[in-house]
């Protein structure tokens, strides 16, 4: 898997494979919280994962079955599907540092700085 990803996604400067972040944001209608979450998520991704993220916004109002299938309770919920392991981040992502911890982006950032 990692090899396939590496081939698809190119490499960093030191030759390590670069992953594409597969993110899914669950919302329920056009609520202020949902809108804020989408805004915050886009900003964070642009800042920390430029060019290597993919966001899918799912409106559970339109498709409530997914809430059951994907075990969603709180809205909005951001799910990091890739890279493994699966992470869930609840809330409107207004707390950026916690979002980064939740996404485990802090570690990646530090690695890149080195």
């Amino acid at each position: 898997m990692t090899a396939a990803k590496g081939g698809k996604n190119g490499s960093t400067k030191n030759g390590e494979p670069v992953e594409t972040w597969d993110l899914r944001l669950y919302t329920a209608g056009q609520t202020p919280k949902s809108m804020a979450a989408i805004r915050n998520l886009k900003r964070i991704c642009e800042e920390h994962l430029p060019g290597r993220y993919h966001i899918e916004v799912i409106d559970l109002m339109a498709n409530p079955r997914l809430a059951k299938d994907d075990q969603i309770v709180a809205i909005p919920t951001l799910v990091r599907k890739l890279p493994d392991p699966l992470r869930k981040i609840v809330g409107d992502l207004s707390d950026e540092s916690r979002t980064l911890v939740g996404l485990q982006l802090r570690r990646h950032q530090e690695e890149e700085r080195q």
């Binding site: 329920a28 609520t31 409530p64 059951k68 709180a74 609840v90 809330g91 992502l93 707390d95």
Partner: protein, 583 residues
């Protein structure tokens, strides 16, 4: 609605949804508040989940009300497995779209909170499940798990408040379960939001015997039983036992039924026990309590009625064998299905379980007579107070069902005779005491009727004999030497019969003597008569001789006169002759 459980109540009263849990609807006077949430709280393992599950399953199967189970602790598979042992087929109900189960998995370690959120996902899932089956009932088990998953309690609380309001708006009757906290009903204070009905479940162990109890802490807008009600979980789900019946309003039958021992019937006003009454046989070990109970069972079955025999000391086979030895054959009745012997050690279950077993057996078997042998053993399954309460409930229950109940009670040595260890004597209608009478190096059995309500009963103490042909009662010998039983009585009776024979002999002897005397006297009379006759004969013989002599003298005189020749003398001589002839 297939059944209308609320129809019995006044329309102005709060609408209720029958839970279908046996006994609960009785103490809540109809069930849980319809269209409102009810909080079930209790410690771990007290039966909250099962309570909710049974509420849904009964609703789906008995009342035509589909339900949604939102599980925060167990998956649908686990739930199905757990309730299968209680006789519920959850998978079938799920396939039939009568029950929807949604397992909500919340894993704290996977979740990061980054600001404002709500629980709309939960609402959506619940709404979807409700719509899917057209649910009228909802169970949230255990919603408090949310507090473990999310750290922002403020948001959770407002969301829960919104959830309960939303449930009310949807018009579903909901059960919310919660774990009991220290000093509070629930760990997270959910009772603040669910204020219509709160039921507390409790699981206590005292003296190694566990008892589950249920109490309705609060039920807004309606009356309800306020006691702690024991309940239990068995292969048919939950049964709540109302502590005592509603009142003393059971019918009193005038019909009498035989005790199985004619002589005892005789003592009980000549007709036996009242049907539907409760009878207590008490006595020390080996006084024949079981034998007397078996006679009653035998008589019941012989009338074609059903008898439930709860044996706490003997197995059915042992009972049958022992009773056969005294001429009571119970086996045919067992085979015919008229007699059911349910043998178990009293310590096998807690008291409630025993009570429920009786309830169930009564419901299944529909007996006319229930025999419990002995009730004193039940004390080993609980405390004295609990046993008394349990027996009171049991007697009440049997009475209100019109079932004649016979209990035996083992009086322990040294205790007062006229006292039961389990303190039920005051609620017993007929109390028969069996006791041993020790006299002359023997131990014999005595029986008397201590009390028997509503009938003229004998005040006698009878000797109680167990023979190969059954029980017999003999009038006790009461003589100048006091009450005698057993061989002393036999000896006394032998003495009496010897005296009687002696008397008879004496009379005969007297008769014979009299006859002999009469014979003697008659002989004497005859002898006297003979003497008299002899004397008479003699007398007449001497008279003739005299006459003959006179005649001879006359002749001699006449001859002399002739020889002298005087006529006067001849005339004189004629006269004398005439005189002699007349003689």
């Amino acid at each position: 609605m297939e059944r209308a459980p609320t129809s019995r109540f006044k329309p102005t009263e709060l609408a209720k949804t029958a839970s279908g849990i046996s006994g609960l609807d009785e103490i809540t006077h109809g069930g849980l508040p319809r269209g409102r949430p009810t909080l079930i709280c209790g410690t771990a393992g007290c039966g909250k989940t099962l309570f909710g599950m049974e509420f849904l399953i009964r609703g789906a199967t008995e009342f035509g009300e589909p339900g949604v189970f939102m599980a925060f602790e167990e998956t649908a598979d686990e739930l199905a497995q757990n309730v299968r042992s209680l006789g519920f087929d959850l998978e079938k109900l799920m396939a039939e779209k009568k029950i929807a189960v949604d397992y909500v998995h919340i894993e704290r370690s996977e979740i990061e909170e980054t600001g404002e959120f709500d629980l709309e996902g939960l609402f959506l899932r619940l709404g979807m499940a409700i719509d899917e089956v057209g649910a009228k009932r909802v169970v949230l088990d255990t919603i408090e798990n949310l507090f473990g998953g999310f750290s922002n309690a403020l948001i959770l609380r407002s969301e829960l408040r919104r959830l309960f309001r939303w449930l009310k708006e949807r018009g579903v009757t909901a059960i919310i379960t919660a774990e009991r906290g220290e000093g509070t009903l629930t760990r997270n204070g959910i009772e603040e939001y669910v204020s219509d009905c709160v039921i507390l479940l409790d699981h206590r162990v005292s003296e190694q015997v566990s008892t589950r109890r249920l109490r309705i802490v609060k039920y807004r807008g309606t009356t309800h039983g306020t006691n702690e009600y024991p309940f239990l979980i068995d292969e048919n789900g939950i049964s709540v036992l109302p502590l005592t019946s509603l009142g003393l309003n059971h019918a009193a039958s005038k019909e009498r039924i035989s005790s199985g021992v004619p002589a005892l019937d005789e003592m009980l006003g000549g007709e036996g026990y009242y049907r539907g009454s409760s009878i207590l046989l008490s006595g020390t070990a080996g006084t024949g309590k079981t034998s007397l109970a078996a006679h009653f069972a035998n008589a019941t079955c012989a009338r074609g009625e059903r008898c439930l025999y709860l044996a706490f000391e003997e197995s059915p086979q042992q009972l049958a064998r022992n009773m056969r030895s005294i001429g009571v054959d119970l086996e045919p009745w067992m085979k015919q299905g008229l007699l059911r012997v349910d043998a178990s050690r009293p310590s096998l279950h807690g008291l409630e379980m025993h009570l429920v077993r009786v309830h169930k057996q009564v419901a299944e078997f529909k007996p006319d007579v229930v025999i419990i042998d002995p009730i004193s053993n039940l004390v080993t399954a609980g405390t004295q107070v609990d046993t008394e309460a349990m027996l009171l409930r049991l007697i009440d229950f049997l009475k209100s069902s019109g079932i004649t109940a016979l209990f035996t009670n083992l009086t322990s040595g040294g205790n007062a005779w006229e006292k039961t260890d389990v303190g039920v004597s005051s609620i017993i209608d007929t109390w028969i005491l069996l006791r041993d009478i020790e006299l002359g190096g023997e131990r014999n059995r005595g029986l008397y009727v201590l009390k028997s309500r509503g009938m003229k009963h004998s005040n006698q103490i009878r000797e109680f004999l167990i023979t190969a042909r059954g029980i017999d009662l003999l009038p006790v010998y009461v003589g100048p030497e006091g009450v005698l039983t057993g061989s002393m009585r036999a000896a006394q009776e032998a003495r009496e019969s010897a005296a009687r024979v002696e008397q008879e002999h004496a009379a005969e002897r007297r008769q014979r003597e009299l006859a002999a005397r009469r014979a003697a006297l008659e002989a004497q009379i005859k002898a006297l008569q003979a003497e008299f006759a002899a004397a008479e004969q003699e007398a007449s013989a001497s008279a003739e001789q005299e006459a003959a002599r006179e005649r001879a003298l006359d002749e001699q005189r006449a001859e002399a006169a002739v020889r002298r020749g005087g006529p006067t003398l001849a005339a004189k001589a004629g006269k004398t002759t005439a005189k002699g002839k007349a003689k």
